[in-house]
Point group: D2
Chain length 309, copies 4
């Protein structure tokens, strides 16, 4: 089985390789703009603890928005369905950093995977913690999920994020004006910027996503991380909202719940099978890794893991 | 197996029954407003040709927007991916009959399951046919899918639809102003109004959806209706866009690709398992059957058919 | 006095002449696209019946949206302030043919000088007349205002207008869906298209606007055409909404109430002084005559007729 | 002459008096919510230095957004037409604190009289000054214009403003994200909040506006404050954009350039005649003084000062 998966990874990697270097590296954060555009890695984590990897699968990159899935997991487990009072579950039909919908919908973001929604989710996760404690909490969680204490926060990216934060500042203050933040804006953003700066390899990231492929239970440690119901919810939200304004295209082409980050990473979940992470810094016009999504399309189709089959 | 499914249907039906009569019957089309709000039916069609039914499962109702899934199936099979040049695959983040997005996106509707997108899809399906021939073609297709020549078009509903068509007229002319209709507006709408007026029972509708649960192949006749790839695409589009501006909520709560109609019907697809249709005329605030979606949530959760597990 | 005005007209004409041929002739209606872009005329009508003219001041052109001012005059005089129930008086902040605002504001157009608002105004003017009678009524009114029975409707432009009417069809049906038209869409549009196709020369047009510069009273015939109050209202609406999405720029630069048409004409009103019409077919990016507005800016500034002084 | 004006003020005051206490006092800033809703004052300043006053014409109130007109005067005089590169001159068609337009128009506010535009204007006025120096500069200007060193900044209102500033913070950061602020957000807002907290009486305010009624020249001191051209521009911008989303209604009903503040004040300019200030804290649904605008409508109509006559 692993052997055959391994072959599928190799094939998908080759298919992606052909386009490597295309796309545009994110430049809105200076620290991201310096990444080598020819990087490309892929890793499948399986429930028996084995991996199928290709390319730069062990090189850490900035997971950026992919972190939103893990913050959501922790916040949903803490707050249950009451979390949906501060953030919706609907696709937005607009770009990841749009503020238009917030004005017409009274400061409630459409979903937890766009920037405004992720800031609101992080804000709730903070609760009685400080921003520092919250970041510690999330980092520990990621290290445990990855089974690797080497997962770290890239301080340079976090600092760069904070320095170029005007749009996120605007989103946060806008929600605050509707009383939809529970913390001071500075506190919520301080945690949010560092969360986005978590650095992981494809291997670590795929390993971290495994619990979402197995009903909320880590198949290796047998620990129930979140409830099966919340796990379903998170996968459903990823399917509808995980890739900015090309979420529909991704669902059609790849057919798996997933989340993109502007660092070029994508995490996808194959329920009952495993988790797949890819990384390649060149982005398509709407912010998803160009090579990464191509490789995932190949992989999912050929191995037959689409949830729509 | 069927026995256990039968029990799940009964339980889900009972759960829905509790809310029966709540919600608001669609009144924007006079002919729909007259339907008895206490009606409630449910049917699961299985690949072996058996059914599990409850309540008014054999009473025909106006499938309305559910027809969009079948028009899409036929158009996608005719045009292939070039269909996506005239209509997108992204959720809209707005109501089913919104025109705002059309203005900012040059007359190209976001997806084939909102009104504008369905009009564009029907327009393409017409091709070299007349409007009448197109309606004939679609009706024959539905009769074959349902395995029942009794499926019919409710002329009174179609006439009512045409008489109260100002909003759809507006959407169609708007697309025409961007040259995104291939037929005269009257021709496209003439076919579209009759397509929405197809009347089917839950049993017929569930039976008709079976090919979408089995890779495009009707499991009873063994006929390949559409390609496996297009089947995946349609399921993915339903998951993201099938229920107006509560598609995300439906994905979270039910976890199956599906399509709502303002007549109170919902069709859902459980890949590899079967198709489920419910009908209850009372709608929630965004146009989906209130009792129907509740019954589906119960059913999918308890039987464990969510695609996100 | 006339002598000095004459000199100001000459100077303004020379200033405009320098840019003649620039701008882009409207091409969305085939019949308009054929007009010679080097045409340029200017006429000032004075209360003593004299004129100061320059260039092609006696050549008829399609007044297009300028007709909206006269329809508004007649409708406001018929309906009084109740007209404002179907159409607002606020600037729209969007382009002349936008539909977005109609969706968020329940089918009530922002003002009578954008397309949707003008269609609603024409619709009300029809009242118990037929479309033909309404057009007759308006044409007679224009001939009387111009003091010239030669004012006519250019049937070729009207036909061209009707053939390329998809956007206006969409606007009209959209309002109809909110029950904000009193006539069938076809009737309202039939009158609207012909109204836009009225052909007049600068001299005729300036003469026609005189009553708006003298409290609603034609200074030559001494006839009170509309009440002084309505006259003020119309001038105020022109000032805020008369030039699509460059109304603010026009107010700043010219400082007179006015109305642009995509045929390249502009009518401006100098309260207590006279009326000024210019025509030059090349348009700026938002649909106002480029040379015409430049000439008006020169004229108004140098003669000191701005209402803001 | 003054005698007759005096009578018109008295009559207008009586007309307004009838509605006194109606409307809703602004409560979004705690310090404003405490104002006595029955207050009502009116003052006309004339070029000969005389005044016609009624009611609470000598009681200071928070001028709020009316300050934007004076910041604009100073900034336009410093920067000339290049100011229009950072802020437009078009009506917005949206509420005073809307952010939607900023997203679609790349962070450039539509005009200097909505919040975003006023923040950008204040930001430019700062230039090489500190925020404190800028506020000093503006306050001195107001004291000179009012001919009264008693004009002051209400520190309690300024503090209240800063504490409840989330929406303005959001607007400022949004513009900053498009690099349309020249100062740090904190600096611009620090000046902006104090500018809004200037307290003046109707008499002082009317006196301060006189230069705008006389081609930019203070008719009492004979000092040319701003150029005649800039004066015309400011009046034109006030006419189109001075009263949030009821600017069109105000132009129709009052027919004078003016600016409303949520403190209940309105300043209007009658070119060549004088300046009129009213104050009554109860606001209509879109933020303009209800009694104040009624009194101005009466006054302008009966005295015949409309610029549209």
């Amino acid at each position: 089985m692993t052997k055959s998966i391994d072959q599928h990874v190799k094939n998908a990697f080759e298919a992606g390789k052909a386009l490597c270097g295309e796309g545009r590296v994110a430049d809105y954060i200076p620290a991201l703009a310096e990444v080598d555009p020819s990087k490309f890695g892929m890793a499948v984590a399986l429930p028996d603890g084995s991996y199928c990897c290709a390319g730069d699968a062990d090189e850490p990159f900035s997971i950026q928005s992919i972190s939103k899935v893990f913050t959501l997991s922790l916040a949903l487990e803490s707050y249950g369905d009451s979390l949906w009072e501060c953030v919706g579950r609907e696709p937005s039909g607009t770009s990841f950093n749009s503020i238009v919908q917030l004005e017409t919908e009274y400061g409630k973001p459409r979903n937890p995977l766009i920037n405004a929604g992720a800031i609101a989710t992080t804000d709730r996760l903070i609760g009685k913690r400080s921003a520092d404690e919250t970041v510690e909490h999330l980092l520990s969680f990621m290290q445990e999920r990855a089974g690797d204490p080497a997962v770290y926060i890239d301080d340079r990216v976090a600092a760069s994020e904070a320095e170029t934060s005007a749009r996120n500042q605007s989103l946060a203050h806008f929600m605050a004006s509707f009383k939809n933040l529970s913390q001071p804006v500075e506190t919520s953003l301080s945690a949010y910027f560092r969360q986005c700066a978590i650095a992981m390899s494809c291997r670590q990231l795929a390993r971290s996503g495994l619990f979402l492929a197995f009903g909320g239970k880590d198949p290796i440690t047998s620990e129930q991380i979140i409830s099966a119901e919340h796990c379903r919810h998170i996968n459903a939200v990823m399917l509808g909202c995980g890739h900015y304004d090309n979420s529909g295209k991704f669902a059609v082409e790849v057919g798996l719940p997933g989340k993109s980050g502007v660092g070029g990473g994508i995490l996808t979940i194959a329920p009952g099978r495993g988790a797949v992470a890819v990384w390649s810094p060149g982005l398509n016009a709407v912010g998803t890794s160009l090579v990464g999504s191509l490789a995932l399309e190949h992989f999912a189709r050929n191995i037959g893991w689409s949830i729509f089959d």
